[in-house]
Symmetry: C2
Subunit: 172 residues, 2 copies
């Protein structure tokens, strides 16, 4: 396969993974995921994202598991990538949330590219007011964007999408 095919396939074929083996991520893998997030685009290149990495066994993982209805998924993962916005670095909520989304997507794609799996937990940010103190973080300083649960996949994952015809406001 040529380079273009490999990239376009990855964009289409990445899926949420919610079941994991016990195998741990290596430090190199964790760094590669963070590196991908770091290079995401942001408005005014303000790079408002901040990262906290929790490895299996960190007692804060269990605290987070108590703050989501997806505790079984969170407990099954090896590594949690907590993605936050630094409020002091933000300039527009709408654009900074978009930037966070680009950052998270880069991280998910890197995880996929490494042969690992992950799920973007959205529901847990509903409990932001409890999650930040559980992580020892000042709620005045950070906004919680997601917790990415990552590990070695124990399932293939499946999903579907609306056909392009429903997304296009005009035929091309």
């Amino acid at each position: 396969m040529d380079e273009r095919t490999i990239l376009l396939d990855a964009l289409r074929q990445r899926r949420s993974i919610r079941k994991f083996t016990d195998e741990a991520l290596t430090n190199d893998e964790i760094l590669a995921v963070l590196e991908a997030g770091r290079w995401a685009p942001s408005g005014m290149n303000n790079q408002p994202w901040r990262f906290l990495v929790l490895r299996s066994g960190d007692e804060r993982c269990e605290a987070l598991a108590g703050l989501t209805k997806y505790s079984h998924v969170l407990r099954g993962g090896d590594t949690l990538f907590v993605v936050l916005l630094d409020k002091a670095a933000m300039y527009s909520p709408r654009k900074d949330y978009q930037g966070a989304g680009a950052c998270i997507q880069n991280m998910l794609l890197a995880i996929h590219g490494l042969g690992l799996g992950a799920v973007w937990l959205g529901e847990i940010i509903n409990q932001e007011a409890e999650v930040l103190p559980a992580l020892g973080l000042d709620a005045d300083a950070y906004e919680l964007m997601t917790v990415i649960v990552a590990g070695h996949p124990a399932q293939k994952g499946s999903s579907d999408r609306k056909p392009l015809s429903e997304l296009l406001l005009e035929k091309i």
Copy 2:
């Protein structure tokens, strides 16, 4: 290069491109970009994004050029990908903006992977109240997320990012 290297390199090496040649995008390229956006993840898989594609010569391109301080960039591109949220499909502004960011990033990565170039215009959404009517769109029905200006690159692009040590809240 192996598949992992190709994907990780693309995530790091994509840059904003603001100067373009006159060469047009093919229909297949435009479809590949939309396909990448379509497969982005979204909260509850609600897929709130909608697309409008404006080709060079469409009079609406010139209308948009009058609504951004980056008119020279917009006029230089071949194809505009207008990304919107369908308000009726939204469920949480913060999560839907994140999803839009993931969608836009997938589109930018596809453009990069195709050997094309693009820039994510953020500033133009400040003029959303004028942009939507200029596109014939109901401002009660849609939110403008960005206009991606795409074409064949006439520059390499350059940028930088904060070191990982400034983004990590704790050493890993």
